[in-house]
């Protein structure tokens, strides 16, 4: 029987992989992909708890709001990445050190 813990373990694996992606990459678009994996892991947790523990729909509504915020975040982050590319001719995150002094 598939229990709550099965979903939580898959979600933990997705979260760890997304975090590795955020940590080891220098390309800004690649880091954004890792962030999407982390958000999906959070959503999977919310829906699994909504099914097995709460037995109501509140977790699914939270997941929908997370998807809304993920869409807005991707749009704004890509706008920032594109203007960074226009400014620096690169999307390497190490190059964005203008404020470093």
């Amino acid at each position: 029987m598939i229990e709550l813990n099965h979903y939580l373990i898959v979600s933990a694996a997705l979260f760890s992989l997304g975090m590795i992606c955020v940590l080891i990459r220098k390309n800004a678009v690649h880091v954004l992909m890792g962030i999407e994996l982390i958000l999906n892991a959070a959503n999977l947790n919310l829906v699994a708890f909504s099914r097995f523990s709460a037995a109501n729909l509140n977790g699914q509504l939270f997941a929908i709001f997370v998807i809304v915020i993920a869409a807005a975040e991707t749009a704004v982050a890509l706008a920032i990445v594109l203007s960074m590319y226009r400014l620096l001719k690169s999307v390497n995150l190490d190059r964005a050190d203008t404020l470093k002094g």
């Binding site: 898959v10 990459r25 678009v29 999407e36 709001f65 990445v81 203007s83």
Partner: protein, 168 residues
């Protein structure tokens, strides 16, 4: 074969697909391969939503993540690299420290999960959720719903303002 065996086989199949494509996203050196791995990871998560009885959320995941966010990310890949630069390499730094750290974190989470005793409600058989979600949006969650719509408008205007070329 009874239903629970089929559900188990489907669960393990989609778990394999999701985690393998997430690994492709993380460890591939080619950004286009990473984007396609992300596609299959999103499909796998949508399949989990179906297995969890969240049909509306699975459709939302397909439309917004696969149709919206992934296309946006592909635009990001294409617009930030020269077109003749077909290799699209993405360099890696601090590989092993990050992998070891996150493997430790993963094992810690899993041991915590296996030790925890979750509250189990009575699991009802899945039923269509769309009408119930719509009712909740229009009654209990009306304020977050309206805030989300204003938030999307602000994000739209903000993204357009950030990316706009300044008039000379």
């Amino acid at each position: 074969m009874d239903n629970s065996l089929i559900a188990q086989i489907l669960f393990y199949f989609f778990a394999l697909v999701t985690v393998a494509s997430a690994c492709l996203v993380v460890f591939s050196r080619n950004l286009i391969y990473s984007a396609f791995g992300l596609l299959f990871a999103f499909f796998g998560v949508a399949a989990f939503y179906v297995l969890l009885g969240a049909d509306f959320l699975a459709a939302t995941q397909m439309v917004i993540y696969v149709g919206g966010i992934l296309v946006l990310l592909l635009f990001g890949v294409m617009l930030t690299h020269k077109l003749y630069d077909m290799k699209l390499k993405s360099e890696v730094f601090q590989f092993w420290p990050a992998v070891i750290l996150m493997l430790g974190l993963f094992l810690a989470i899993v041991t915590a999960l296996l030790k925890a005793r979750w509250f189990h409600g009575n699991v009802k058989p899945p039923e269509p959720t769309t009408a119930a979600i719509g009712n909740l949006f229009m009654t209990e969650y009306i304020l977050p719903f309206e805030i989300a719509s204003i938030f999307l408008l602000i994000a739209l205007i903000g993204a357009a303002m950030i990316i706009r070329r300044k008039p000379e």
